[in-house]
Amino acid sequence: MSIGTKIYAQLGGDRAIWMIVAILVIISLLTVYSATGTIAYKERAGNTEFYLIKHFMFVIAGMFLTYLCYMMHYMQYSRMAPYLLLISIPLLVYTIGFGAEINEAKRWITVPIIDLTFQTSDFAKLALIIYIARAISSKQDYIKDFNSAFLPLIVPILIICGLIAPADLSSALLLFFTCVVMMFIGRVDLKFIGLLLFLGVVVFAFLIVLGSFFPEAIRVDTWISRVRDFMENSDGGYQIQQAKIAIADGGIFGAGPGNSMQRNFLPAPYSDFIYAVICEEYGLFGGFVILCLYVLLFFRCASMVTRSPKAFGAILALGLGLSIVFQALANIAVSVHMVPVTGLTLPMVSMGGTSFIFSSIAFGIILSVSRYIEKTT
């Protein structure tokens, strides 16, 4: 019995999801190594291994966390949810006020002692999704009620999303949308969902007005210019054109690992535009496999709901699955020029600190749920 099959036999939970994680991580290591060639030249005097090793450390840490979260019973998350949510609000406020600025956006805080930058919205996202899953499952019996079910749900959503939005609108919208879909699945009345969407628009409008007073805290200018770029320029801006060239150059089976040319031009080819690099090196085929992996992940999450519809675990897995697949689709849609440019990473594939770590945690929680659902059914 080889080590691989041994591990496979040992691991509980949804084996398909384990496979998805493994494949994504392998693709991630290969593509990040290739895509960092240019910045390695620029910033590390050609030491191309530097970013590979750095990313590899994150992968190791991420896999460890996945395993840790998988080992914990998922009901633990339910108990932690309100506290996590309470912690995340001051964190987000602090980030807006005193966060570290990277690429002209205040999305990070620096963790003392270990001196790593940490994107607080990732943490808040996780906390909110767990909280919403818990709320939806616990209020299933009176879920169509406005005061007792709907209000407790929407207040944290609007607060958290509203706090994320100034510096990172795309993450906020994505999280908002994830929560809306979770509520939709959780049988919240369609009327209320319509109301929630309306409220979202109101908060957004409020932010834009606020933005004209605090242009440094709320990046309204960037939003407008990106949307305008998307609307006005049918070929896309410089970045998008580079991504399209990458996709076109890749052909059906790609130029092969490490042969990307466009990595030299794409901004952040190792994170925001990593899908374009994957398409260039592995072709449409590679691009298709990546899409299928995310869709398959969501299939597996959805199947848990069909097995255990009301359970907190099922809703939680579904919410996390939704969050991952939405983010993946949003990231890919940017590369193929279907939406304006965002700063979203490709979950479990893009190089990058907290995004990768929280994706790993999300996968770990999903796997934890799958383990117990398998046991109970």
Partner: protein, 708 residues
């Protein structure tokens, strides 16, 4: 309950369906880009083709011994503008267009007016020019100014400001040692030190990502280089720029005077083998120029200067004593079918003379017959060759210049080398073998250095940012090329050549030097008998004879005017070089008198000279002249009596014309003009007369000074 479950499942399926649809849509878009728009994007990708292009490192300098630059790279820049730069803001461009146009018209070029520039910039912007030429050959200070222009000050991305760095190799001393300094060009072989040390000087190229914007135009993608180039190291040579100048000028004058074809001269430091000066001058269509390194690259038959080597072989093998008598048959002797003839008129009068005298008058017959007698029989020719090889004459010197011609010394009795019965005698007088001037000088230098043969070298140190990276020490080729007694005898002969031999016309009473003349026939085989024969005149030697400091060889090819003998063509050039070396190098002079100081004659003393008290006192103290100092007044007059010197005060009062007689003009002018007088001067020297008597009141008069 079932309805709850159903409702939930239906909603899950709806979401699932939407997600699958979204995934399909995204993928369909990718397929569209890849398949339907593929050609368009791929073509665009080709036009954006990039690659890493080398960024050339700054080439190191080549310096003379004292640090003056022999070759250095001067940076200059080309400035262009990329109107389609990624981050160029149209609004900003429009706002700053006028000021940029103004700056360009004012500071960069007057080819356009402000309005003209404005229109030009707008037109290029509209055309989307990515590589618009602002100015070529911009110097560094100019670049610093242009960098600050509006729009340009935003840099590469926002301002579209492209700077292309270039550099130009510059030789501040122009023709001096030009060929030895050399060059590296893309076409053709590298030459000289530049060629030999190309790697050291060249450094390591960096890399920069360059993007192709049109057929043959590349612009940097980023502002900075991706990998910084590593600048080349500097070379400190052994060349003494003053001596180089002396050697060059002397050689050039000689070549012109004798209407020669080309010539070379090398000056070497005897103790170390360091080359202090090396000149190669040839006639070209454009005048005299350093076009070929004859000193190193050209091995020729040396002629009589080689007799020193043959004689050292004879001495070393104990075959001759300087005072042995030898028959020279009135300067003519038959070796098999060839006749050897002397060039000296003295030879024709002598049937027998001493070995010493025969060498001094450069008798071919004497050398030929001596070598033939001692090595020409019983297969002993190999001993002669072996001896020459022990003087290292068969090997290149290994000088740090590409293309050193190897010497050719025939192997004894070798058929391949065309060894014949006449080879030995002709070798003894410097034919049937070739050496370069530098190789022969290395031998002479060893003789001057009492037998210790030093490797000639040009580079003494490799530096980086003024700090030594590598020091190159003198290298000994051979500790002793021959027994000290043999070398000493040869030295005696070489001194004799100058004192009473073929170079006696060159001797000077200022210092003694030693050497050997040479007059080689260049085309003696082709033009037999003597018709239209061409010569190569040479002189190799060293100075001062007693304690040699420099060795030197001078070679003049095809002199056509004013004689052709080594002693009359190359010798004077050697002498001029030696004279100038003496004139400029005080350490070469023997102390003029080593006895006690002579009594100073009163009339040599600076009697009645007037000047600043402190200056006079310091001059007298420096010269160690006893004097009675004074501590009074700014100005002093020197009073020299028969046995004492004293300083007396010269008073300068306000409003009264002072006595300036005895002062230098500088002092007199300073004092008089400060007092409000107008000064008119005639003559040179010190003030002899002043038109207004001292003590007269000053009211702005004009005073005439007569100097003498």
């Amino acid at each position: 309950m079932a309805t709850v479950k159903n409702e939930l499942l239906i909603r899950v399926y709806v979401v699932l369906f939407v997600i699958v649809l979204a995934a399909i849509a995204v993928f369909a878009k990718a397929v569209k880009i890849q398949v339907f728009e593929g050609d368009k994007w791929r073509a665009k990708g080709d036009s954006l083709y990039v690659k890493y292009k080398p960024v050339f490192a700054e080439r190191g300098n080549i310096m003379a011994e004292d640090g003056s630059m022999l070759a250095t790279s001067l940076p200059f820049f080309e400035i262009r503008m990329d109107f389609k730069s990624d981050a160029m803001d149209d609004k900003l461009f429009e706002e700053n267009l006028d000021s940029l146009a103004y700056c360009l018209a004012t500071y960069v070029s007057n080819s356009h007016t402000v309005g003209g520039y404005r229109e030009l910039l707008m037109e290029r912007k509209a055309a989307g020019d990515r590589y618009f030429l602002i100015k070529k050959n911009v110097t560094y200070p100019e670049l610093q100014k242009i960098k600050k222009f509006p729009i340009f000050n935003l840099g590469r991305y926002k301002g579209g400001f492209i700077v292309i760095r270039q550099s130009k190799r510059n030789r501040p001393f122009r023709m001096l040692a030009q060929r030895t300094i050399g060059y590296v060009r893309d076409d053709g072989n590298p030459v000289g030190l530049e060629g030999y040390f190309n790697k050291t000087l060249g450094g390591e190229a960096g890399k920069q990502l360059m993007q192709r914007v049109s057929h043959n135009t590349w612009i940097p993608v980023n502002d900075l280089t991706e990998i910084e180039p590593k600048n080349g190291d500097d070379l400190v040579t052994t060349i003494d720029i003053n001596l180089q100048d002396i050697v060059h000028e002397a050689l050039l004058r000689g070549l012109k005077h004798h209407d020669a074809n080309h010539g070379t001269a090398i000056l070497m430091d005897v103790k170390t083998g360091a080359i202090k000066a090396i000149s190669n001058i040839g006639r070209t269509d454009l005048g005299w120029w350093e076009t070929y390194n004859y000193a190193i690259g050209s091995a020729t038959e040396p002629g009589s200067t080689f007799k020193a080597a043959a004689m050292l072989a004879l001495l070393e093998d104990g075959h001759v004593n300087l005072d042995d008598s030898i028959r020279i048959y009135n300067g003519k002797m038959q070796f098999y079918e060839e006749e050897m003839v002397d060039a000296s008129s003295e030879s024709f009068k002598l049937d027998t003379t001493s070995v010493r005298r025969a060498f001094e008058i450069s008798s071919n017959v004497a050398m030929g017959s001596l070598v033939q007698k001692h090595y020409g029989k019983n297969k002993k020719g190999a001993e002669f060759i072996k001896r020459l090889k022990s003087f290292n004459l068969h090997l290149p010197t290994g000088i740090e210049i590409e293309g050193e011609a190897p010497p050719i010394i025939k192997e004894a009795y070798s058929k391949e080398d065309d060894w014949s019965g006449t080879t030995l005698p002709w070798m003894s007088i410097g034919y049937e073998l070739t050496v370069t001037p530098l190789q022969l000088l290395t031998f002479y230098n060893a003789v001057a250095n009492n037998g210790k043969m030093m490797k000639p070298y040009l580079v003494s140190e490799i530096q980086q940012f003024g700090e030594p990276v590598e020091k190159i020490k003198p290298t000994v080729i051979k500790r002793q090329i021959a027994k000290p007694a043999s070398v000493q005898k040869l030295q005696e002969l070489l001194e004799g050549v100058v004192e009473v031999g073929t170079a006696r016309g060159l001797a000077t009473n200022k210092y003694r030097f030693a050497g050997k003349t040479g007059t080689a026939q260049i085309n003696y085989r082709k033009f037999k008998p003597r018709a239209n024969i061409k010569y190569q005149a040479s002189f190799a030697g060293y100075f001062p004879a007693e304690n040699p400091v420099y060795s030197c060889i001078v070679l003049v090819n095809e002199p056509k005017e004013h004689g052709f003998y080594g002693g009359e063509v190359a010798g004077p050039i050697f002498r001029e070089i030696a004279d100038q070396c003496f004139a400029t190098r005080i350490e070469l002079h023997e102390p003029i008198n080593t006895r006690g100081r002579n009594e100073l004659a009163t009339n040599q003393l600076p009697n009645m000279d007037v000047g600043k008290r402190e200056d006079i006192q310091s001059v007298l103290s420096y010269l160690d002249i006893e004097h009675t100092p004074t501590s009074r007044g700014n100005w002093s007059v020197v009073k020299a009596d028969a046995d004492t010197i004293s300083l007396q005060r010269r008073t300068i009062k306000e409003d009264v014309v002072p006595n300036v007689v005895g002062m230098g003009l500088r002092d007199a002018l300073f004092i008089l003009e400060n007092l409000g007088l107008k000064v008119v001067v005639s003559g040179i020297g010190k003030v002899k007369l002043q038109s207004i008597k001292s003590g007269t009141r000053i009211k702005g008069q004009t005073i005439k000074l007569t100097l003498k």
